[in-house]
Amino acid sequence: MRHLSTWLAALYAGLIYLFIFLPVVVLVLFSFQDGSLPVPPLNGLTLRWYEAIFSDGKLMAALGNSLLVALISSAVACVLGFLAAYAFARYTLPASGLLRGLIVAPMTVSTLIIGLGLLSILNITGLRLSLVTVGIGHVVINLPLCFAIIYASMGGHQVNIERAARDLGARDWQVMLLVTAPMLLPSILAAFFLSVTFSWDEFIVAFLLSRFDVTLPVEIWSMLRSGLDPKTNAIGSVVFLISIAFLVVMEFTVFRKTGKSS
């Protein structure tokens, strides 16, 4: 009986893992397809679709744009989030609950609505759509996350260390930069890398708020109009690899450190 249920459990888990991995495996496998259709039968293996994407100027520009927007918007979101978290954790502000609610509010609203709102405002201000407007939108999306993560890790036990630094003559900015920030580094990094992965992957705001220079998801989106294409498989596999790289970096820099300190 026990034996049977173990077998059933293994079978069930195996089937679900198959379901979860099926699209990824098919995507990567047929990115090597020696033929123009990424569906069975697999005619043979070739790297020519990877050559095609790496020599595609538009695609590579979009990849660069995506990295640029992800890194800069995440850095801005982290700095703003850190400053605000410091203010709310270390000082008493009037209506602090309400103000904190305002900062995390965008998290509760669908990105479609954030994008539409920004688009309607940009339309009347006459500001042109560009990577900058996409970046502004991504900061709106990621700031609540960065604020929440960093604020949650600002416990009372760090206050005494900050006080000691002040007693020893450190100025406010020195306390913040040389004492508080290093103590909170794991959560700041976690916030940063999570933001990077979200921004890197974000479609709807990037689609609504960009025009000529676009990010990678938007460029891939326009490739989809030509239907199934091994080239799309190749760039999709590269995107997956880069996302996994972000995760591995996060796992090693963030979780290792928190693991050690606790």
């Binding site: 700095v79 000082y91 509760t108 609505i113 700031l143 604020f147």
Partner: protein
Amino acid sequence: MAATALERAERRKAWAFALPALLWTGAFFLVPFAYMAAISFWTRQGREIVATWTLDNYIAFFVKAHFFKGLVVSLEITATVTIISILLAYPLAWIIAERVPKKWQRFALIMAILPFWTSYVVRSYSWLLVLSKGGVVNQALLWLGVIAEPLELSANRTGTVIGFVHFFVMLLTLTIYANLIQLSPNYRRAAADLGANAFQTFWFVVLPLTLPGIMVGAFLTFVLCIGDYITPQILGGNNELVLPQVIMLQLGRRADFPMAAALSLVLMVVVTLAYIACARWLKMERT
């Protein structure tokens, strides 16, 4: 009680730190959102937005079938996806928490959510590869002789639901596992001592205790699913549109910003109602 000079200086500093984030959220979220809410009560002439107050857009939502049907289709798909995802994810989370040896659990969980990190657009495209007429599933079934004709698995609701379920099974496995692993084994020991069999223990003890994990995951599923444009657009075909697709259609071909704004607010009201319905469990998570 007069504040001392020191207190005033401290308060100024606090505002200086908090202000950048507050201003950013105010200028790029609150103001745009308020403006969009206003637009939803305006109208348009040609491509121009005209600031005359009217309820026409909201009336159109209830009266015109293609708008209202968008919400109905969205709700049907979201409900189907949420239920199927919970039913598939719960046993997996349970197996990882109960049957996988402790030192392998983290690995099993990371593997279960790895494709979570594939790009959003690419993930739907990958399912198109799998589900299309010449795709892997149809080819395999044809080859095995299970079917004689390729099944219609994409460009319809089936495609959308499969694409969504894939994503949310991973999400729900995570939230339910997190809940299961926190349960003290004492609950189960107590139930067994009191004479409950395995099924009774699960149904009357474990399941109710993991309800918060299920509800948190279900709420996230609901919110992310009903607001998504990509998955139905790539996998769903054009026969029935979900609400976000209807919204995007107003922007593109018809340039009807007021109608798009009104539909977005309808979407937001639906999400808010879902939050109120789940609030009890979402709060429990925090304590």
